[in-house]
Amino acid sequence: MARADANAGRIIDVCLTLTVALVFAGLTFAILSLPMAPVGLCDTVAAELDCSGVANPVTAVLLNFRGYDTLLEMGVLLLAVIAAWAVRRGTVPEPAAPGAVLTFLAGVQVPAMILVAGYLLWSGADAPGGAFQAGAILAAAGIMLWLAGRHRPGLLRGLPLRVGLVIGLVVFVAIGLFGALSGVSFLALPTPYAATLTVLLEIAAFVSIGLLLFDMFASVLHAGSNVKEKPAAEEWHP
């Protein structure tokens, strides 16, 4: 019986590998049959860059030209956090006693990480950077603080936490409505205010993304603290 199962498993394995190889061949053929000299959207973006309020084309695309994608992304992040809150059980465990190296490093690195996050946020206008990169570093600083046990328990809960989590999305929608009310369209940043509005958007998104990502980390800790070892033998009682 076991031998038949093993043979069946091997046949499935080979068939699956063949199918995946076919998929690979098909996708490679699709890539190789793309037009040789694509035009791309560089020139379109460069033409409109002056009225976008920022100098970096990627930031302009993210927050101005394709602001709708970013709005939906903030919504997806918030949705994931809410879903994780609904599903998780258990309590956040205390971190294992950190060694001397981690305690010292956390004390040295976390302020530097906050500074780097702030710098990345500000330099997003002219160079690679912006709200998402800075928010990720902020979340990492929070995680490092937690792992070293140097956070103040109870600092991030209740109303301030919830306000911080939603402020990115709220500011985004508000600025989008401002664009709609000033006659252009939803999420269009009018040129005279584009730079100021982009900075506002970035700051709100920065705070929100840092808190959202850190909250996902806390939810994973919650869920992981409750996982039991697989029982050796257990009767199932309905």
Binding site: V20, T28, P57, A80, R88, F132, N226, V227
Partner: protein, 97 residues
């Protein structure tokens, strides 16, 4: 075949290897990790294809899409891990071999 096309074929290879790993995963965590690698392959394809434009600067629109995609992939991975842990906690039908 130029260098960007080579990178995008590597990205497709990553995607296919991880696809096989997702289907053959024996545990939820392996499937989650394989999904992550699939998404890395897709991002590599997008970024590589953005390089094929004439001119010194790469195409900024796929770069913005990848930035959005990375953040969404991170939060989806975290959500999947929470679900996998909850699955492990609440499973009364563990098979006994």
């Amino acid at each position: 075949m130029s260098v960007p096309v080579l990178y995008s074929i590597v990205g497709i290879g990553l995607f296919c290897i991880a696809l096989r790993a997702v289907i053959l995963a024996s545990e939820p965590l392996r499937a989650i990790l394989a999904f992550n690698i699939m998404s890395s392959g897709v991002f590599l394809v997008l970024v590589a294809l953005a390089r094929r434009v004439p001119g010194p600067e790469p195409d900024p629109v796929p770069h913005a899409m990848v930035i959005t995609g990375i953040v969404v992939a991170v939060s989806a991975t975290a959500m999947a891990i929470v679900l996998a842990c909850r699955l492990r906690t609440d499973d009364p039908l563990d098979e006994v071999d």
